[in-house]
């Protein structure tokens, strides 16, 4: 059985997808721990799931529609109150385009 589920390079790639970055030591530790966890997950392959519908919510609900009524929303100042940086009624972020 393959004991290597995930390489250091894959860990670095998944970290990028998740918008995380790790140092060398952290990457090594996560690779080893994720490998152990993913090996444990292999036990699911013992289960025959042919024709079994995936369940993503235990209580099936129909779409929860409501009337499209206008209601009060948060004022701009309250929405921006927790922002690390805000200016002119907007969230301020570092440069996006070169």
């Amino acid at each position: 059985m393959n004991r290597i589920k995930i390489s250091k390079e894959e860990v670095a790639y998944v970290a990028h997808l998740a918008r995380l970055s790790f140092g060398e030591e952290e990457t090594r530790k996560f690779t080893s721990q994720l490998n152990d966890i993913l090996l444990y997950m292999d036990k699911l392959n013992e289960v025959d799931t042919t024709g079994v519908e995936p369940v993503t919510h235990a209580i099936a609900r129909e779409n929860a529609f409501r009337e499209d009524d206008v209601a009060a929303s948060l004022p701009v100042e309250a929405s921006l109150a927790n922002a690390p940086e805000a200016r002119a009624g907007c969230f301020q972020v570092p440069r996006v385009i070169e």
Partner: protein, 485 residues
């Protein structure tokens, strides 16, 4: 007996009889906090000043005969519920200074029932953990032995109730985060059916599994607070528009002739012998109360942990994408561009366990692995749910241990995530199937650590759970010990 030692129903009776005031209860509770909090560390934020004002207000209402069902009762909130104007951290550096602009629905409901808020309790960061050691603000201690963990992730709420630092508390349970700490701290803890309590204003971890519930000193208090928090909320599209019964009406009813299912898969190698003995004794207690125990099978039990640790991280990786240093919370400085700001912020703002789960979840959802992990896990989840549907055709409630061991030592499992995950082995299945569960104290180890028994029932059968738990509590007559802090 000090006021902080009493239950909601005992205090309410005395409040309404005019023998005591809410201000006296609040002073008693804060006096207790001042005496023991340095050892227990149950709270992240205390709300002392507003609590005194709320107590005065409640006193006024009680005098006029207008007080709600929790009028003047000091309760604590896990720091995962948004509280308007009061810092809400979720145990994370990334929300260290977050001040919500609104209250969670549960907070609104408790407020209108007259509850007094003592503060926000400690928790594993983003509710990811089983020991409350993963908090950015440091670990909470088990009041029964401060060298041990209180369980988690709602460990602060469980410890606060046990230690008398509040009268009741609220938490969230995604894989056992109410029931496991309730068991390890010797209090009653309930996870209601998925959709029974609105999650609006609950900071999301795994949205298809998260559910809010109470920690109380006895089963009657659990019924009292469930009456307050249960119900449909138009602001929360997964809350279920189903009538809420009066949960108190299930108390004190007998369980003669009930069939209590004992799943054979829950008595495994690795279960602590003292826990197993206490559970076997609990089975004899329900039999003594007139119920019949029947062996049942939940064949996919062994796969619950693997399913959970794919589904929950997958949902978490998506839910936690919102912490990007833009709209609220922590932002790391000195970034050349937006992408670097995201990465620096999230890498510095999240702790190791949260990053580990975001990584597992992102991997399980990523192109090429989705079918092998997320889809496969969701299919096995369907089989786990079907196991319960089948089991409840043959029994009224199911009885199991809540946790395979009593409280373990601080640091004992922090270096081995998989070992930590296995602490939730008996509680996870209820979240995957969406069914309600309750943990009730059922004894102590020879070392004096509490042990809990779990009852499970079908969807929206909280009443049945409370009936079983209250009958068990009455017949078991577990001695009321108090931790010596």
């Amino acid at each position: 007996m000090e006021l902080y030692e009493l239950t909601i129903h005992e205090l309410s009776d005395r409040l309404r009889a005019g023998e005591i005031t809410s201000a006296e209860i609040v002073s008693s509770v804060f006096g207790r906090i001042d005496a023991v909090e340095k050892d227990v560390r149950a709270y992240i934020t205390l709300m002392r000043e507003t609590a005194l004002a709320e107590a005065a207000e409640a006193g006024e209402k009680i005098r006029k005969g207008e007080g709600g069902p929790l009028a003047g009762i000091p309760v604590a909130l896990k720091d995962i519920f948004c509280t308007k104007g009061v810092r809400t951290t979720c145990g994370s550096r990334i929300l260290e200074n977050f001040i919500p602009p609104y209250d969670a629905t549960v907070v609104e409901k408790l407020r209108s029932a007259g509850a007094v808020f003592t503060g926000k309790t400690n928790m594993d960061e983003f509710a990811m953990g089983s020991s409350t050691e993963n908090s950015f603000f440091g670990a909470t201690r088990n009041p029964w032995d401060i060298e041990r963990i209180p369980g988690g992730s709602s460990g602060g709420s469980a410890a606060a109730v046990t230690a008398g630092e509040c009268i009741a508390a609220f938490g969230s349970d995604t894989g056992g985060s109410i029931r496991q700490p309730a068991s390890l701290c010797g209090v009653v803890g309930m996870k209601p059916t998925y959709g029974r309590v609105s999650r609006y204003g609950l900071i999301a971890f795994a949205s298809s599994l998260d559910q809010i519930g109470p920690f109380t000193k006895d089963v009657e208090d659990c019924a009292i607070v469930m009456n307050v928090i249960a119900g449909y909320d138009p602001r929360e599209s997964t809350s279920v528009p189903q009538e809420v019964p009066d949960y108190r009406s299930f108390l004190g009813r007998d369980i003669k002739g009930w069939r209590v299912g004992i799943p054979k898969e829950y008595f495994i190698d690795g279960i602590d012998p003292e826990v197993e003995a206490a559970i076997r004794k609990a089975i004899r207690v329900v039999e003594g109360a007139g119920a019949k125990s029947v062996e049942i099978s939940l064949p996919h039990t062994d796969y619950c942990v693997a399913v959970y640790y794919i589904v929950a991280p997958a949902e978490a990786s998506s839910n936690l994408a919102r912490y990007d240093g833009v709209k609220y919370g922590f932002r790391a400085g000195e970034a050349r561009d937006l992408l670097e700001m995201y990465k620096k912020t999230r890498s510095a703002g999240f702790g190791a366990e949260v990053k580990r789960r975001i990584m597992i979840g992102t991997y399980a959802l990523s192109s090429g692995y989705y079918d092998a992990y997320y889809r496969k896990a969701s299919q096995v989840r369907g089989l786990i749910k079907r196991d319960f549907d089948e089991a409840f055709k043959n029994c009224d409630v199911i009885l199991t241990p809540t946790s395979p061991t009593p409280a373990f030592r601080l640091g004992e499992r922090t270096d081995d995530p998989l070992q930590m995950y296995l602490s939730d082995i008996f509680t996870i299945s209820a979240n995957l199937a969406g069914i309600p569960g309750i943990s009730v104290p059922c004894g102590y180890t020879t070392g004096g650590l509490p042990i809990g028994v779990q009852f499970l029932a079908g969807h929206f059968q909280e009443g049945r759970l409370l009936q079983a738990a209250s009958a068990y509590e009455k017949h078991a007559r577990i001695d009321k010990r108090r931790p010596s802090l």
